[in-house]
Subunit: 345 residues, 2 copies
């Protein structure tokens, strides 16, 4: 694959005996070029199969019409849906997406962010990795004059644009629903508490217990049970307690809820009559398990569109107004399925 020489505006100019400036103007549809020459230039460009060199153009213009995205995992449903949503909205405005995955490692996340800064992206959209504690690299993005939008998993101490879900409210509703169904000893599988989303979900859980005057039982709250395997392991322990829970809220993900379901079934617990289960995220499979799993839908693709639109909106104001940190909160929706229908309605 030898690198054939590509036609440039100079080639077009030379062929027509004019200067590159005119070619550039014609290609950018400027008025300051004769209608006829413009047509001629366009025709010649077509003939020579000319393609603009975006690199050169961006270098000159000082921006790249590119948005960088950093997520923990590209192939996780929630994230790929958000990305698809962003893509849809940005595509129309001729923006490109550069996508990186941090693989849940802050080290890699930092490298990704640096690459994106080097690339002169106009905006970085990020959902931070699970092991993050320090956010200097995000501050750095801001220092370079690059727009930064955090979503879902956000570093709350950083004042940036944020698009999040109302985790606390969703969690509160989910647990309230379970209580209303008659569950009394509801266990919480919680995620790493350095992430705001997991803290908020816990608060929602606690608030619901409080509202219904249920006691907080420490042995029913399990830290760090946020994968299928960890969820399964936690369930094994919980269901072996002298007083096991009658419901488990896998606030971390549907995957951990799936772990719960499998272990519970294997141990002979009937779902939902003996054990209620609620997950988080509305992964496609939650509809297909038996019983189907109650969960929370985060409107992931809509979230992506929201992120993109937020960016465009901020761009329009960029000259006039000093950027204020803005937070858009999307209200997730509780999807009630069989796994929590103790009443059997």
């Amino acid at each position: 694959m030898k690198n054939k020489k590509r036609t440039t505006i100079y080639d077009i100019a030379e062929k027509l005996n004019i200067t590159a400036s005119s070619v550039s103007r014609a290609l950018n549809n400027s008025n300051y070029v004769n209608e006829n020459t413009k047509k001629l230039i366009l025709k010649t460009a077509e003939e020579l199969n000319y393609k603009r060199n975006t690199l050169a153009s961006n270098l000159r213009k000082g921006h790249s019409k590119t948005i960088g995205i950093v997520v923990p995992r590209i192939n996780q449903n929630f994230f790929s849906n958000v990305i698809a949503g962003i893509e849809e909205a940005t595509y129309q405005k001729d923006y490109n997406l550069i996508i990186c995955q941090s693989s849940e490692s802050q080290n890699k996340e930092i490298k990704c962010v640096n690459t994106l800064i080097n690339q002169h992206v106009d905006c970085i959209v990020i959902s931070v990795s699970v092991d993050g504690t320090d956010y200097q690299h995000l501050q750095n993005v801001l220092d370079h004059g690059i727009q930064l939008i955090q979503f879902d998993r956000v570093a709350d101490e950083l004042e940036t644009l944020k698009v999040i879900n109302d985790n606390e409210q969703a969690s509160f509703e989910a647990v309230s629903h379970m209580i209303e169904q008659g569950y009394k000893r509801i266990s919480l599988l919680e995620g790493p508490q350095n992430l705001q989303i997991f803290r908020q979900r816990k608060i929602g859980y606690l608030n619901a217990l409080k509202k219904y005057d249920l006691p907080i039982i420490d042995e029913l709250i399990v830290e760090n049970a946020w994968t299928k395997e960890l969820g399964a392991e936690a369930t094994r322990k919980l269901l072996s307690l002298s007083e096991p829970p009658d419901a488990i809220f896998a606030s971390t993900s549907d995957f951990s809820a799936l772990g719960v379901l499998e272990v519970a079934t294997a141990m002979g617990f009937k779902v939902p009559s003996q054990l209620g289960i609620c997950g988080y995220s509305n992964e496609a499979f939650t509809e297909l398990t038996s019983p189907s799993i109650t969960t929370i839908d985060q409107f992931s693709s809509y979230m992506g569109k929201t992120i993109a639109n937020l960016y465009f909106q901020e761009m329009e104001n960029k000259e006039e107004i000093e950027v204020v940190p803005k937070i858009i909160s999307i209200k997730p929706k509780l999807i009630i399925r069989s796994s929590t229908k103790k009443n059997g309605d």
Copy 2:
């Protein structure tokens, strides 16, 4: 968000009273710069929070260390896994990924490809959209000296690098398996026949019937049933036939297999005893339905890595050897689950 001026090598040069050349050399770890000045430059770069402008660098160097990817849908399991695989392999070599989705429209696909050409990507990795018939835009990629790798859904008439699954063989094995389980009237849900993958799957099906001396029954072969809805619709018709099939091979996707399962269950057909079902792709949910669905795993993430490595390998040879069209075929694996266990082993 005002665009703060970023530090350049000139800023560093000025501060140290040297020229930008030396700074550049130091940053690229060239030998032709004094050890001490090199250290000083590196230190100053750090202090000024210097970040290389990749745009300028790439423009000068004539390549972008970027790979463009075009897939029908980012958020489809198979594709997002392939992308994740590519990302993993390319990340280590400091390559970036620009990702586009064609949304199954060839028009958008063409636009995406053009954007990527403009971006001077070094390689384009593509799985074509379902409505594709003309592949001039892919030829154009080649004409611009850009490496082109097709995967999964490939335009077979174009001589490029390809990474595909052995669809024919996989399909043959799946149908053979069903026949061996005792199914005799096996229906085929086929995908749009302009795509090679679907043609190959049909051939595999036909070959299996032939091998076992089963007749080809036209009314059991349904065109264009490649979504969940179309699969469901097709099943409704099939199961209403005077002589309905005793098995359905949803060669298009697991989604259509899911449609089959739901309709069959609703119509009172027992799976697998009265009706066998086999899907394609090994989507996560196939394990979770009841009964779980027999399907074919395509090693998607491995496929991604293979694609990336193929590119790097070709790059190494690029000077010496003329590029020959090369096809890497990955053998998918039949995953036998409950939905085809007529024998009940």
